[in-house]
Symmetry: C2
Subunit: 334 residues, 2 copies
């Protein structure tokens, strides 16, 4: 099955590039509200499921024991840009558990934000694992291990006790099997599992509503979603789409990007979960897709549709700041 073109990139009046994709919107009872393209194809959600992977941090009692508030919980669900505020908060989280960046097994890269990279280099600094966009998630893993008395070394590997807990949470929330058969290794070295977009959409409706989850898990899920929506800077960064969109609609929209053009998202007040993937892995198109499908779901709400419209048709500027084109959703999407 060939997924439809959902986003076009224009230069002047001419379509220069095209992005295909698939989208699933489900309610918490598992009813499909909208499906475009092949929503059964196994898809690695990558970082889009970090909120599910943060459940054990809350459920083990670690978050409360270390006094974590919305900022720390948001950072545990984040793909952050490596700005100073992210790095310092991840460092502080680790310190609560008596650890430092040496314990992180996510690997090192310079900040995703070019501005943060330039600032770091100018100050004579160099990148360490705290700058890795996943350092908040990994700090959460380490804190939960320490609190629960689990040996943290090797925590990124399939088979480690903590990875088994994450796997249980992913299976429980999405209803999809997670095993060696659909497993690969993520950018930060932990396992990632390819599952249908349908299951991811259903899972995010459950996360947003608590329906179908145990009482403790439902509470933890709502707390994590509320934290991300309250502290969107700590989920992305100053220039990140997720941060900007969640910041414009406080408490009303949840979005989380994953590598290779994935989004998991929710409109909590409608009880709906969204999962989508741009076939070719492009972020720019996945962003237009998630904004456009959300606008469709909240069509009656002028405030939200007004906000979302700003994200549906981004303009492209060149090196002199001239508008040279833009992105737009196709009829198959809008």
């Amino acid at each position: 099955m060939s997924n439809p073109v959902l986003v076009e990139v224009l230069r002047g009046d001419i379509v220069e590039s095209r992005h295909r994709g698939a989208i699933a919107v489900f309610d918490a009872d598992g009813k499909a509200v909208l499906e475009i393209g092949d929503t059964m194809r196994p898809t690695f959600p990558r970082s889009a499921v970090k909120s599910i992977q943060a459940l054990p941090l809350v459920e083990t009692g670690a978050a409360d024991a270390y006094g974590f508030g919305d900022k720390e919980l948001a950072l545990s669900c984040a793909s952050h840009d490596g700005e100073a505020g992210h790095v310092e908060l991840a460092r502080a989280m680790l310190a609560k558990a008596g650890l430092d960046e040496q314990a992180l097994e996510c690997g090192t890269h310079w900040p995703s934000s070019q501005k943060a990279t330039i600032e770091l280099a100018r100050s004579g600094g160099t990148a360490n694992a705290l700058h890795n966009n996943c350092s908040g998630k990994h700090s959460g893993f380490l804190c939960a291990c320490c609190h629960a008395g689990i040996e943290h070394r090797g925590y990124v590997k399939a088979g480690h006790r903590y990875q088994e807990m994450l796997c249980e949470a992913l299976e429980n929330v999405t209803g999809a099997a997670h095993s060696a058969d659909n497993r690969a290794i993520d950018g930060c070295s932990i396992p990632t599992y390819a599952v249908p977009l349908r299951n991811l959409a259903h899972g995010f409706a459950r996360m947003a509503t608590g329906v179908g989850l145990g009482e403790e898990r439902a509470k933890a899920a709502r707390r994590l979603f509320a934290a991300c929506m309250a502290e969107p800077f700590h989920v992305g960064g100053s220039e990140s789409f997720d941060t900007l969109l969640m910041g414009r609609a406080p408490g009303r929209l949840f979005v989380k990007v994953g590598a290779e053009g994935v989004y998991c998202a929710a409109v909590p007040e409608l009880g709906l979960g969204i999962a989508l993937k741009c076939d070719d892995g492009a972020f720019r198109a996945a962003e237009v897709m998630v904004a456009t499908v959300m606008a469709k779901l909240v069509a009656g709400d002028e405030t939200l549709t007004g906000i979302l419209r700003e994200f549906m048709n981004p303009v492209l500027t060149n090196r002199n700041g001239m508008v040279v084109g833009g992105l737009r959703p196709t009829a198959a999407l809008a």
Copy 2:
């Protein structure tokens, strides 16, 4: 018409992302040797036609007057990474015409190379127009204007005398009409024209062979191609695909990337020109496409196919250097 999937991105054993595209291979007489997908669709070649846009620099006599050798000519055809060697050479080219970076109208951005950006920031420097990946091309434009007595201010704008010369060269080499109807603005502010891949492939066969071009133009084209193949660092940078591939097969393969997943290329000894575009604009896939189609064309040559095979199946590593997947051409391409 839907272009076929030509490149797959694997994570573990599972296909994570897919890239579609179209490819044209033509000889200098205008005969199609290979066509995949829609090769008639208007396509902006962007920076892939910089060698054609460098023709007037040679044809006006400016290159000789200023004593430009292979390095300067290669930089005139380059999308460079903003490394110190590129920046200093562009500065020296401008100085020959009594100009400096103030004359450049391409706009400013930090080096495309993250390493070069970090080095520049560490040294207390900041980005200027010389770091723009197009600064070599623009320096060539400025030198040609100065030598030919053309007022250089406004040289990026459609209608400027020098842009008319570039437009004439593009029309002559590709045989496609270039007008306001198929014009848009490129990243560096000069006009870019959408033309069929067929015409671009035919044009690059002409550039490689001189067939169908006037005598002076044919000489200039061969000189520019030879310069790029002799000094590939100045066409891209230490880690650029174009630099690495041309460096491995000295004088035998010509490749030049353009924004949004375009390649214009040639196998001069076969007299063949190649033009391709990845539908979604991804560089990683366009690179696999150009290496794979070249390997098909030189199938009898073990040296070249051995080199090209290294570029057809790049591996993906994660932040800890683990191999987590890779790219591969599909049956429709290979």
